[in-house]
């Protein structure tokens, strides 16, 4: 593949070299990509380092996409009870290239909490409106065209309506999405306006340089000032290659809530707050498979066209999320003949998920070799909410004709009606039997006005070092209860304005 002007990869980076820029950004996703474009357009010399490759062509081959664009081939798991499988994007454009594309503003009550409890500067809904609107316009946040919505999502909506529950169409970053149902493997039409088709081309257009296949080992320091970064090229076989050093006036860590605290820690940065790596929230996610008599063909149509908000106050929402057969087979709690029987009904299946605004808090620890490990223990409150959420989700699915539901609990009976589901779930089950996954990792370098309990200030500037900014979901002081991507991009835009407002301080 020919790379666009300004993008370099392992084939170009065969020799050790030192580069210079005003700003070096580690990570090219929702935070880094957005920041790069906003700064580059204002004439700032920006270099972005990204560990993944530059990918723009996508198809429906799930495991190939996982190998190409998911960190460690998606096989990353937090330690705790239950262990939680989590995914981080590793491609130019970051996790936003492979996410579902839901774009909700940070709820007002959360912004209010960040304002009042965390003392963040100008974070209220009114002050944030300009930044939200700017991002929404750039990435085309809109409701789905009706023809793109498939039967699985219609059933979810019908179920919510039948129960008199609040259900709303999802806001997604899409330009006439045609419903390929390929979001998690990269949008094959470019309809999903992820950074790879919006902020990244824009950053390149305005002169930013992107070095892909570069794994940053550490941030370089002079005393308490960050002065650049040092990384190594990742060869195609995974081994390390040439050394890439970037000297910059401002260093930005935008590599997500797992990698950012690890990068800062292994570079020797410390926060007296003790919060670096702590405060990890995950929006734990569980899924059920509901088998219907009718043909659903959930892969024909966009996923998550609707969100059931009835239980938002309790902390959980529902959506229908079709998953390809290979991934269903991987996660289904069956094997052999049982698996064959479940999979034979694949085209009659609605897969619906529950996303929880968690109260559990985990942390990221950095091992002696520098690799991060996420530790996260689901607390009793959240466990109970997931149990209740599953009950409600079953009720919805049975109300529109589901014949049986496979619960995400190891060894659990398959209910064939709502009463049975209630009874089965009421019997209780060990936390370890619950299959939980997540793609929302937040909070490990929290913002806050006070350095005694926050890692960065209101704009992501590290409290206890100069020339160092964090710009990703690590900044969240708390979980937000909705998909975090728009919040990350909006904070990145706000951080960019802060840098530009203070050029003398940060860029000279």
């Amino acid at each position: 593949m020919t790379l666009p002007r300004g993008v370099y990869d392992r084939d170009d980076l065969t020799k050790d070299q030192t580069l210079f820029a005003d700003v070096v950004i580690v990570g090219s996703g929702a935070g880094g990509g957005t920041l790069a474009a906003e700064l580059a357009e204002e004439g700032v010399d920006v270099i972005v380092l990204e560990e993944g490759s530059y990918n723009t062509e996508f198809d429906s081959h799930a495991s190939k996409a996982i190998r190409r664009m998911y960190r460690d081939a998606g096989a990353t798991m937090s330690l705790g009870n239950p262990p939680i499988l989590y995914q981080e994007g590793m491609t130019v454009g970051g996790s936003a290239v492979i996410n579902g594309g839901m774009k909700w503003r940070t709820p007002d009550n959360i912004l209010h909490r960040w304002d009042v409890e965390d003392g963040l500067d100008r974070i209220g809904p009114k002050e944030m409106d300009f930044f939200f609107s700017r991002v929404e316009n750039r990435i085309n946040v809109a409701y789905q065209d009706p023809e793109s919505i498939g039967r699985d999502n219609q059933l979810l909506k019908e179920g919510a309506d039948k129960n008199g529950w609040d259900v709303i169409p999802n806001r997604r970053n899409q330009l006439h999405c045609s419903g390929t149902n390929n979001c998690a493997w990269g949008c094959p039409t470019g309809a999903k306006r992820s950074p790879i088709v919006t902020y990244i081309p824009r950053a390149l257009h305005f002169g930013a340089r992107i070095y892909s296949n570069v794994r940053v080992g550490k941030i370089l320091r002079k005393g308490k000032r960050a002065v650049g970064v040092e990384g190594r090229v990742v060869k195609a076989n995974g081994k390390t290659g040439a050394r890439i050093t970037v000297a910059a006036k401002l260093v930005v860590s935008s590599c997500g809530s797992i990698q950012t605290p690890a990068l800062l820690s292994r570079s020797g940065f410390k926060s007296p707050s003790g919060q670096l790596g702590r405060n990890l929230s995950m929006h734990p996610n569980v899924k059920v498979m509901a088998i219907f008599d009718e043909d659903v063909r959930g892969w024909e149509g966009v996923h998550q066209a609707y969100q059931v908000r009835e239980f938002k106050q309790e902390g959980f929402v529902f959506a229908a999320v079709n998953i390809p057969p290979s991934i269903v087979a991987m996660t289904a709690p069956h094997y052999g003949r049982g698996l064959a029987d479940v999979m034979a009904d694949y085209n009659k299946t609605v897969i619906a998920g529950l996303l929880l605004e968690d109260t559990s808090l985990g942390r990221v620890v950095t091992l002696p070799g520098g690799a991060p490990v996420a530790l996260y223990q689901l607390n009793q409150i959240d466990f109970e909410k997931l149990r209740r959420g599953l009950e409600m989700l079953c009720e919805l699915l049975f109300s529109v004709g589901a014949k049986r539901v496979l619960l995400p609990v190891d060894g659990m009976d398959e209910p064939t009606n709502a009463d049975e589901a209630r009874a089965i779930l009421a019997r209780g089950f060990p936390r370890s039997a619950l299959e939980v996954v997540t793609v929302h990792l937040m909070g490990t370098a929290r913002m806050g006005i006070d350095r005694r309990w926050a890692v960065t200030d209101s704009y992501g500037m590290f409290h206890d070092a100069a020339g160092l900014m964090v710009c990703d979901a690590s900044l969240f002081p708390s979980p937000i209860g909705v998909n975090p991507c728009l919040t990350i991009q909006t904070l990145a835009t706000r951080n960019a304005a802060h840098i530009l407002d203070n050029r003398k301080r940060y860029l000279q």
Partner: protein
């Protein structure tokens, strides 16, 4: 994509070949797809970290050799067992109260099942044709909205400096 060139050891392959008809649908044998599934798993694992590759190998060997200790197995390893006994051995691990044994059984089943269900023959059998669908709706999208899409694409690189916009907003 990271491709470390990982290859199953001969023993690991033997164990996986014996495990596939147990964890995947039993038809896998008649369909002659055991080796194709194990090959697909090998390709996938080539992108995993060294730790995952090593942990998988350790798990497979433990699964294989601990079978010898079972009184009913007469010192035979898992891959030497007849089908019914091999299946019972897998079930013992699948339902084990010990988390590492249970997790090994689940994860290995998960990987083999993923590899199997991604084979084109199986997609065909399930009547799952996402590429055809993608082609169809991608064309429909351009037919219906082509002009608007092209205009919006062109807008993406138009000047819109942040500070001027912010100033105007203020």
């Amino acid at each position: 994509m990271i491709d470390s060139g990982y290859k199953h050891s001969l023993l690991a392959r033997k164990i996986l070949v014996a495990m596939a008809p147990i964890v995947c649908p039993p038809e896998i044998e008649d369909q002659d797809l055991i080796h194709a599934s194990v090959d697909a798993l090998e390709a996938f694992m080539s992108s995993c970290t060294g730790q995952v590759q090593s942990a998988t190998a350790v798990g497979l060997y433990a699964f294989e050799f601990s079978s010898c200790l079972h009184p009913a197995h007469n010192g035979r390893t898992f891959s030497q067992l007849p089908h019914d006994k091999a299946q019972a051995w897998f079930e013992l691990w699948w339902h084990s109260p010990l988390v590492p044994m249970r997790e090994f059984a689940k994860k290995t089943k998960g990987l083999l099942a993923m590899a199997y269900y991604e084979l084109p023959e199986i997609a065909e059998q399930l009547d799952y044709h996402p590429e055809k669908w993608i082609r169809l709706v991608a064309r429909r999208r351009l037919d219906l909205y082509g002009d608007e899409i092209r205009a919006k694409e062109a807008e993406n690189t138009e000047a819109d400096p942040l500070m001027a916009a912010l100033e105007a907003h203020r």
